[in-house]
């Protein structure tokens, strides 16, 4: 296979170097993309609709050309290699199973065009089907399969010719929630077993967090943050990422002082407290402070020393089973959410009452406004 070089360094198996893309020659859909994907890595591109994820994938697969910059695979630029010589497996959102071919013919297609002889072909097809637990479905037409089954076949077809790199563009988008979670697990499992490099596109953050080694959060053609899931969630580097990944409370204000590890923020409501300065540079900058709902303590007795205390008005209490979700009005923000675990000693807040809540400075991230 053209692209299958084992000599390439584990780091930088796929590299985007200052890649730009414009469809119309005016608006840049991808702006100066730099990304390095390691061999065997599971990297997810996550971002809102229209942020350029598919475009990146198509450039990598060879269906779109980069307007500017280089894409390297195994250390070699592939800008001039046509798609069919790149040896990249791809799973499409609508599966793109060939409707006029049976399942077996679909799977044999990549092997046939590679002139692999019949016996080996049949072997590989059978093994690929077993791999996705679809043995026995050889003779079916794609239209005779359920969504989940089609998905598996699409997966098997992208893997049957043993590519080093597999691209998946929202492969689970069309499935219902339960099946999606099941397939997430299976794809992850396959990835671990086969050791292929996967570039995965989704706009479902849970999917991104549960499956990936690293997640690249896209917005407006720019990677906002590239990090492992836990870092992404716990240490978002800017307010877009903080907003986009998980639930988040934001309080807006200005930086009054930065001393070492902590910054003092004065909220628009006048409250002052300390937060980690992540994405603020100078005193006087406007900032959004982000606090995760589960890091807020509503029981003042349990607040550790050093916590910032503030009074809040309970607006709404929602019982969600495993957690309680309380909407508060804090420092003028009426959308302040707190999540508490459903434990025996947990209080159920009464709407209308005023309580004292608090958080630790380490849990507050002062980000760009």
């Amino acid at each position: 296979m053209a692209a299958g070089t084992n000599t390439a360094p584990a780091e930088g198996f796929v590299r985007f170097e200052s890649v730009q893309k414009s469809y119309d020659g005016i608006a840049l859909v991808v702006k100066d993309l730099n990304l390095s994907i390691g061999k065997g890595e599971f990297l997810t591109m996550l971002g809102p609709s229209g942020s350029g994820k598919t475009t990146c994938l198509l450039m990598l697969a060879g269906f779109e050309t980069a307007t500017h910059g280089d894409i390297l695979l195994g250390g070699r630029p592939i800008n001039n290699i046509p798609p069919h010589k790149r040896g990249i497996g791809m799973v499409f959102q609508n599966y793109a199973l060939f409707p006029h071919m049976s399942v077996a013919e679909n799977l044999a297609f990549p092997l046939e065009v590679r002139s692999i002889d019949k016996d080996e072909r049949e072997n590989k097809v059978r093994r690929a089907l077993e791999m996705v637990q679809m043995g026995g479905f050889e003779g079916r037409r794609p239209s005779q399969l359920s969504g989940g089954q089609q998905q598996r076949i699409a997966l098997a077809r992208a893997l049957v010719f043993e590519p080093d790199l597999v691209l998946m563009d929202e492969p689970l988008g069309a499935l219902d929630k339960q099946l999606r979670e099941h397939m997430q697990f299976e794809i992850k499992h396959l990835h671990e077993r086969l050791g292929v490099t996967v570039v995965y596109v989704t706009h479902d953050q849970t999917e991104a967090l549960t499956m990936s080694d690293r997640v690249a959060v896209f917005d407006d053609g720019i990677i906002q943050q590239l990090a492992p899931p836990d870092q992404l969630y716990e240490a978002p580097e800017n307010s877009f990422v903080a907003q986009f990944i998980g639930e988040n409370n934001t309080l807006t204000g200005i930086v009054e002082a930065i001393n070492g590890d902590l910054a003092t923020v004065r909220l628009d409501s006048g409250d002052r407290f300390q937060a980690l300065p992540v994405n603020v540079n100078a005193v006087g900058d406007r900032t959004r402070v982000s606090i995760r709902p589960e890091r807020v303590e509503t029981d003042s007795r349990r607040l550790p020393a050093g916590a910032h205390r503030i009074s809040a008005e309970v607006l709404e209490f929602i019982y969600m089973g495993d957690v309680f979700r309380t909407r508060l009005k804090v420092a003028g923000n009426e959308e302040f959410i707190v999540k508490t675990r459903n434990a025996p000693d947990q209080t159920r807040q009464v709407p209308g009452s005023t309580i004292e809540i608090g958080w630790l400075p380490e849990d507050c991230r002062a980000l760009d406004a």
Partner: protein, 488 residues
């Protein structure tokens, strides 16, 4: 039920404008009532005539013929039956015309006198009315009853005192061979009077109407003429269909027509081959266009689609005539070829008034019917399929051949059915640019409808065409599957 009522206007419209003409056509292609209708007495008398032996029919037939001819001439129908029989054996039309003109010369006084001499009542119209209003009349003397009714209802003036001669001839003809016991069903005095007339009817045997007719036109002695009348006297006939496949119902039964007369099978074959050629030409020209259109962004594609449809904005005649201008020997294309020097001025290409001209013009006219279904099918093939094929390692051509093309087949299927069926029944263009060698079966049909007025043959040809299309449709369904045809 209410739904049925809602669609009722449309249903009725479809029935009236679509189904009923087809049914009428099917009926006309076998219908042959005209001979028995106009020549009832002759044809019923001919039943007893053995056409195997080469002798003329007996006197009874000629008496019937006389009665039939008199009535037909009065009704001006004798030329119609003449033309009808002329389709089967040329020359019959003139025999009927000629005979009709001079029928007055036939002397049948003897028949009248046979009755009036017996009893004066036979000169009394009221008496005749009495005979034929008798309940037994219709059963025992059906032909005479019919003749008398025809006379009294259609031809007699109220003041006419006696029936016309032919009524006497009809009665005389029918009484021949009957005796008193046959006539006993009549009331008196009719039974007695009729029996008396029947008993002495043998006297009339000396009179030969046969001779009279032979004098009017010697053709009446031709056995083929009588055989033709006999063969075509049943009310339904397969003759039109035989004719339509270059066969005929000869004296010895069904046989092929002579070499020089065979035309329809050749034209059917030509229609078929040319329609297939046109369909293939449309596929070859239309596929790339549709492919190109389907890949354009929708707005541009719509613009080009208008260009594809543009020909529909001009009259068919204009478009066809334009091809004449282009293709004729002094036409634009030949001029250019000569000017460039590819073709010598003395050897200008003949591209019109032949099959080539028809194929070119019809391909042009029918092309949109190929492009539109192809386009709408191709539009529904997501680009992901070809991308998937390429990502799986197929080069552009393989991806097209193995993935795109098979999925566009329903469009080819729909377009082909449409173009082929339109082509096989096309009329105007072959008429205008087809010359002699490039005409279709529909041109023959039109000829028989408007020029030769042989509607039965036109209907038979039309029915065969319809059958051929249905058969092809069935074969097509078998091979391709009509489910695989997508119009959009």
């Amino acid at each position: 039920m209410r739904a049925l009522l809602l669609i009722a206007p449309l249903l009725i419209f479809v029935l009236v404008t679509f189904v009923s003409p087809i049914v009428d056509m099917l009926f006309r292609s076998v219908e042959n009532g005209i001979v028995t209708e106009i020549l009832p007495h002759s044809t019923s008398a001919l039943k007893d005539w053995n056409s195997e032996r080469d002798e003329l029919p007996g006197e009874a037939v000629f008496r019937g013929l006389y009665v039939d001819m008199v009535i037909a001439v009065k009704r001006r129908q004798h030329t119609r039956v003449g033309s009808r029989l002329n389709y089967e054996a040329a020359g019959i039309a003139s025999v009927f015309r000629k005979t009709g003109r001079s029928l007055r010369k036939v002397d049948v006084d003897a028949f009248v006198r046979h009755f009036t001499d017996l009893h004066p009542d036979w000169e009394n119209r009221a008496f005749w009315e009495g005979v034929f209003s008798d309940p037994a009349a219709a059963g025992v003397l059906p032909n005479s009853s019919r003749t008398f009714d025809a006379w009294s209802q259609d031809f007699a003036k109220p003041e006419d005192p006696v029936p016309e001669d032919f009524v006497y001839v009809a009665l005389a003809g029918e009484l021949r061979g009957l005796d008193a016991s046959d006539l006993s069903g009549f009331g008196q005095p009719y039974a007695g009077m009729l029996a008396e007339a029947a008993r002495t009817i043998g006297r009339l045997d000396e009179i030969s109407l046969k001779q009279e007719f032979l004098q009017l036109d010697s053709e009446w002695s031709a056995a083929t003429l009588w055989k033709t009348i006999k063969i075509f006297s049943p009310p339904l006939t397969e003759a039109y269909f035989l004719n339509a496949v270059d066969m005929k119902k000869g004296i010895e039964g069904v046989e092929r027509k002579s070499e020089a007369e065979r035309i329809y099978l050749v034209i059917f074959g030509r229609t078929f081959v040319m329609s297939v050629t046109i369909t293939l030409a449309c596929i070859f020209l239309g596929y790339p266009v549709a492919y190109f259109l389907a890949r354009l962004p929708l707005r541009k594609a719509n613009l080009f689609l208008i260009l594809v449809l543009l020909p529909f904005w001009t009259s068919l005649l204009v478009r066809t005539s334009a091809w004449k201008v282009l293709l004729q020997q002094e036409g634009v294309i030949n001029d250019i070829l000569v000017a460039v020097g590819i073709v010598d001025d003395s050897a200008r290409l003949v591209m019109i008034n032949n099959q080539f001209g028809t194929i070119v013009a019809m391909t042009h006219i029918l092309l949109p019917f190929m492009i539109l279904p192809l386009f709408s099918v191709m539009k529904t093939i997501p680009p992901d399929f070809v991308r998937a094929a390429k990502s799986l390692g197929a080069d552009a051509f393989t991806a097209f051949r193995r993935v795109y093309f098979p999925q566009s087949l329903p469009g080819i299927g729909a377009g082909s059915v449409l173009v082929f069926i339109l082509a096989i029944g096309y009329y105007i263009t072959p008429e205008l640019v087809g010359g002699i060698k490039g005409t279709f079966i529909s041109n023959r049909i039109a000829y028989h409808i408007s020029t030769s007025l042989n509607w039965g043959l036109a209907a038979a040809l039309g029915t065969l065409l319809l059958m051929a299309v249905l058969l092809l449709y069935w074969v097509y369904d078998r091979i391709v599957g009509i489910d695989n045809v997508k119009l959009g």
